[in-house]
Structures are given as structure tokens and as C-alpha cells.
């Protein structure tokens, strides 16, 4: 809603909704209720650090979770980013199975990933730098 609409009031309301949903109180309430209905296997792994302390995770689990959270790095999603994991895995498997040169394989697959990112960014009207277009196979901007 925040992205797809130009109506300022709708955007503001959507933002307020997101703030409410990720607040500690809502996350704790949701986690407790869903665990009470579905049992311990549905224990909610919330991303809210203050909320996860209040859910039913045991202390030894919390020690591990806290340490993982402190070293976790989130990277942002790009348009066409689904190709990255896919082709990185393909590259790794190709090197394992057919013993090709790792650097060359990675370069080939990086080109495929870049082409898809360029295509998706043009599709959504996001700015595409000229070097990225030149690096693709046909070097003409997609419409």
C-alpha cells in the first residue's frame, strides 16, 4: 500500500499499521496466542529483540539467539534478487560436478544475475546505470 498508492492519507495509515504490527506489544501478543493454539512447535521467532525475550523461549536458547542476532547482517532485497541465490547455487554445483574453473563460472553466472536485475529495474522504472546495461549480453536497454 505504501508503495502502490499516491494517496497521502492511505500511505500514512499503512505506515501506522506497520509500526503497530512490529511493536513489541503486538508481537508478544501474537506469539503467545499462536503458541497457545498450535503448541510448542509454533513458537514464534519474532525479529523484535525486546519481544523475543518475553516469549516462551528457554534461557539457553535465548543465549544462542541473542548472539546470532548480534552478528546477523541483513542485506536488502533488489528487484530481480531472486536470481542471486539461484545462480550462486548453480555456480557452486557446476564447479563441484563438472570441475570447471571457479572464477570463470562465477563470472558467467554473475552476468546472468546482472541481466535479470537490469531487466527488472527497467520494468519497474528504477534507474539503471549505463555500465550495468553495457555489461549485459545484448547491451540495449530493455523497454
Amino acid at each position: 500500500m505504501m508503495i502502490a498508492t499516491d494517496n497521502e492519507e492511505v500511505k500514512q495509515q499503512a505506515w501506522e499499521f506497520m509500526k503497530w504490527w512490529v511493536s513489541t506489544e503486538s508481537q508478544v501478543r501474537f506469539g503467545r496466542e499462536i503458541e497457545s493454539i498450535l503448541g510448542a512447535s509454533a513458537r514464534y521467532a519474532t525479529a523484535n529483540i525486546a519481544a523475543i525475550e518475553q516469549l516462551a523461549w528457554s534461557e539457553e536458547q535465548l543465549v544462542v539467539i541473542r548472539e546470532q542476532m548480534s552478528v546477523a547482517v541483513g542485506f536488502r532485497e533488489v528487484a530481480g534478487g531472486y536470481y542471486t541465490t539461484r545462480h550462486l547455487t548453480n555456480a557452486v554445483r557446476k564447479v563441484t560436478n563438472e570441475k570447471t574453473d571457479p572464477r570463470e563460472t562465477l563470472l558467467d553466472y554473475a552476468r546472468t544475475i546482472n541481466e535479470e536485475i537490469v531487466k527488472k529495474r527497467s520494468e519497474f522504472g528504477l534507474p539503471v546505470p549505463q555500465e550495468a546495461i553495457d555489461a549485459t549480453r545484448d547491451a540495449t536497454p530493455v523497454n
Binding site: Y82, R86, N97
Partner: protein, 312 residues
């Protein structure tokens, strides 16, 4: 030409009027049909028409659909290498598991036809179990597991045939044979049951008459008596086999992963999933679906016309 057209239109108009009058007399029959008709319309016909409509647009769910004409189809046929691979894979699977699975079903049904009833029931259960057991083919992902603990790898290493484990489901060379084996294992389903039932219903007197008339061995008996009697069952089994073979997606997805390595196990339906659910290009996905629909109808017509000539 125009007189012919006029006569044709008048004939159809008259037939429609007669049919309408008949329908008004039989209102209750249509009332009984109504619940099923409503559900069928809502869940089969309407999605199909919507899909055909969306295949001519560019639609990414967040924005309203934008009409682009046939460019989805042109891109699909001329521009998409992965779709070519998907079609090759689907055709390979369909050709191998369709006819071979069909012949296997009929062969096994024919072989177990002679057994006493309780052994036959047991055999039917053994053959039919793979297809009713839901996702039991997931056991093959353990048999074909890529490290040294997978059953096949450990047996082969113990026997000394290979030195290091083979990545069956991650190596583009081995993925398709594995999937063909698993799909053949699962191919005996409703068609097989209908064959077993149909073979029981063949009239014994015809066999005796045939032997009196000069049939010399079991093969002739099969071709001249058994198969013509089983024609409805053969048609039904063929339709089921074709539909399943073109729509295959859950076995490759569960075994080879989604997406599979280098698109080696890509079938038309997994290609559709990729474009529809991962990339949100719904127009393109609808174009794939419509094309699959048309191809399936054509294949069905072909198979049915071929099967009409069996036994004659």
C-alpha cells in the same frame, strides 16, 4: 454459400428454441444440476477464462493489468530458452511415462487377472499404493541422497562401483533419469484400477467362441477380444495418463528442488510457478498456462482418435 449459411443459422435457431422449451418443462432437473454447475463454473470455467484474458496483458498484481497483446506469447516461443528446456523435459516425461506407464498398467492388470481373488486384491494394493500414498515418493530423496549416507550411494560405494558419492539430484546429468524412474513408479493409478475392473467384466463366452473360431494363442486373444471390450477403459486411462503427464510438477519440485540446478528438471508447470509466484509476472504465467491447455486438448484429441481404431 449465403443460402447455406442462412439455412444453417435457421436450423440452429430452431434447435435452440426447441431445447429451451424442453428445458422449461424439465426445470427440476436443472435445479438439481445447479449447485454442481455453479461450483464448476466458479472454480473451473471462470479461472480458465480469466487466465486466457490475463495472458494478453502485463500484470504484476500490484498494478492493474496493462494490455500488451500477443507479446507474452511471442516472448514465450521465440525468446525463452528455459521454456524450451521445460517443454523438452515435459515431453520426455510425457512420452516415456505416458505410453510406457499406460502399457505397464495394462500389462500388470492383464497379468494379475488370472490370479485368485485375494491374491489379486493384494497385488492391486501393492501396485496402486504409490499413487494414493500422497507424498510417499519423498522416500526417493533419501534413496538418491547426494552424500555417502544415501542408500544408493552407500550401496554403490560398498560394492566398489564408485569411489565418491554421486550427487544424483544436484547434478544436471542425473536428475532427469531419476525423475523418470520415480514417475514410472507412481504411474499406476486410476487407469490401472479401471483396467483391473474392466478385465473382470469381459464376457467369458467370447473367449470360448474365439477359440472355436480359430484364435490360436494368448496374443491374438488379447488383441481381438480383450482390447475391443476394454475400449471405454482404454480411453479413460489414456485421458488420465495424458493429463497427469503434462501437469507433472510436484515430483520434480520435491526431488530436484525448486528451481533445479541449471534448470535441468524444469517442467512447464514449474516454469509457470516460477514466473507466477516468484517473479510475479502473471501475464506471462497465464500465457504459459493457456498454451499448456491448448496443447493438452490437441494431444487428447489425437490419442482418442488413435484409440478408436484399436482392435479393428
Amino acid at each position: 454459400m449465403t443460402t447455406f449459411l442462412k439455412k444453417y443459422v435457421n436450423l440452429r435457431k430452431r434447435n435452440t428454441l426447441i431445447a429451451w422449451e424442453k428445458a422449461k418443462q424439465m426445470k427440476f432437473c436443472y435445479a438439481f444440476l445447479a449447485p454442481y454447475a455453479v461450483l464448476f463454473l466458479a472454480f473451473y470455467i471462470l479461472p480458465m477464462i480469466t487466465s486466457i484474458y490475463y495472458s494478453f496483458t502485463y500484470y504484476n498484481i500490484l498494478e492493474p493489468a496493462k494490455f500488451v497483446g500477443a507479446s507474452n506469447y511471442i516472448d514465450l516461443i521465440l525468446n525463452d530458452d528455459v521454456f524450451l528446456k521445460a517443454v523438452t523435459n515435459t515431453f520426455t516425461l510425457a512420452v516415456i511415462t505416458g505410453p510406457i506407464g499406460y502399457i505397464l498398467s495394462f500389462g500388470f492388470a492383464w497379468l494379475i487377472n488370472e490370479l485368485p481373488r485375494w491374491i489379486r486384491t493384494l497385488a492391486v494394493l501393492v501396485f496402486y499404493a504409490p499413487s494414493i500414498s500422497g507424498n510417499a515418493f519423498a522416500i526417493f530423496s533419501i534413496i538418491f541422497r547426494g552424500d555417502a549416507y544415501g542408500y544408493l550411494n552407500s550401496i554403490l560405494i560398498d560394492l566398489g562401483i564408485i569411489n565418491t558419492p554421486i550427487l544424483w539430484l544436484n547434478n544436471p546429468e542425473y536428475i532427469m533419469p531419476v525423475i523418470i524412474i520415480v514417475t514410472l513408479w507412481m504411474s499406476m493409478s486410476t487407469g490401472f484400477l479401471s483396467f483391473v475392473a474392466g478385465l473382470q467384466g469381459v464376457d467369458r463366452a467370447q473367449y470360448e467362441a474365439g477359440y472355436v473360431d480359430g484364435i490360436r494363442n494368448r496374443w491374438q486373444e488379447l488383441y481381438y477380444i480383450t482390447l475391443p471390450n476394454m475400449k471405454p477403459m482404454l480411453l479413460f486411462g489414456a485421458v488420465m495418463a495424458i493429463t497427469q503427464a503434462f501437469g507433472v510438477c510436484d515430483v520434480p519440485m520435491a526431488l530436484a528442488g525448486y528451481p533445479s540446478t541449471d534448470y535441468a528438471a524444469r517442467t512447464v508447470v514449474t516454469h509457470l510457478f516460477d514466473y507466477g509466484y516468484t517473479r510475479f509476472e502473471m501475464g506471462y504465467a497465464s500465457a504459459i498456462a493457456t498454451m499448456l491447455f491448448v496443447v493438452m486438448i490437441l494431444c487428447n484429441k489425437l490419442i482418442q482418435s488413435a484409440l478408436r481404431k484399436v482392435g479393428t
